[in-house]
């Protein structure tokens, strides 16, 4: 079977999953408690993605570099919390990482 057909089928399945959820919530009423829980989807999803990324990246590099990254993430976190701006967090985090990596 050609790779193109497999890729198309996979893309279709991924789309069907999303559209299916959109349709399901459009036609079925959900309890108010569940509807309120929707508010926590964004922080929980991004937190989970962040946890997975950090947990897979850090063990794959050396201790010194891992510590440099953790330091840069913390500093970017403080800056991001103060400015509430993702671009500023990256703009401060990357040079901090390079500096900490160079020092270590």
């Amino acid at each position: 079977m050609s790779a193109l057909i497999i890729v198309c089928a996979a893309a279709l399945a991924c789309y069907a999953l999303r559209f299916g959820c959109v349709l399901a919530l459009a036609y079925w009423s959900v309890p108010p408690s569940l509807e309120q829980a929707v508010r926590f989807v964004a922080p929980a999803s991004i937190g989970a993605l962040l946890g997975t990324t950090v947990a897979t990246q850090l063990p794959a590099i050396g201790t010194a570099e891992a510590l440099a990254r953790l330091g840069a993430f913390c500093i970017a976190g403080v800056v991001g919390a103060r400015t509430r701006n993702a671009v500023t967090a990256i703009a401060v985090g990357m040079p901090t990482l390079w500096a900490l990596t160079w020092i270590s």
Partner: protein, 171 residues
């Protein structure tokens, strides 16, 4: 990426589709969340909009859906955010393919992913329950990082939502 790796080793259609569904299961939560806001949207619009649902887009539009405004205005906002994200996604991917191999490893560009997520996450932590959702999701994802096909992200996201809901109920 999982699909490409499987195709590369000669996996069959059902294996690839099944894996893609498991990896993409995490998108079910944002899709369901947006579905609650799109009940009155035209069916054709919902069908188009569903194609663009990814976590970063949901993060951008979720706050807009909590704010004041008509449903039509919010749909326009979604369309704009989806267009910007899609164009940025395709452009960045093309640039990455063309230039990525020439960037020295010392630049540690892979660190931009967690930094971007940190930047996206922090403005969302508006109250204690949001912090609980993010913290539970993050810790659970670290514990479940070795789960097959990225299923740990799905489970960790669900645990984060449940954790925040339980926290609310106890207060």
């Amino acid at each position: 990426m999982a699909a490409i790796e499987l195709i590369d080793v000669g996996a069959g259609l059902m294996v690839v589709v099944g894996t893609v569904l498991v990896v993409s299961a995490r998108l079910a939560l944002p899709a369901a969340a947006l579905g609650t806001h799109w009940r009155d949207a035209p069916p054709r619009w919902r069908a188009m909009a569903a194609a663009f649902i990814v976590e970063p887009l949901y993060v951008v539009v979720a706050k807009r859906y909590e704010d004041e405004g008509t449903a039509a205005e919010k749909r326009k906002f979604y369309e704009g955010a989806a267009a910007v994200l899609w164009l940025g996604w395709v452009t960045s991917t093309a640039v990455g393919i063309l230039v990525g191999g020439h960037v020295p490893k010392a630049f540690a560009l892979d660190a931009m992913m967690p930094l971007s997520l940190i930047g996206l996450l922090l403005p969302m932590l508006r109250d204690r329950r949001s912090v609980v959702a993010a913290a539970v999701g993050m810790v659970a994802a670290c514990v479940l990082a070795a789960a097959p096909n990225g299923s740990g992200v799905v489970l960790a996201s669900v645990l984060g939502v449940v954790g925040a809901s339980v926290w609310r109920d106890r207060r």
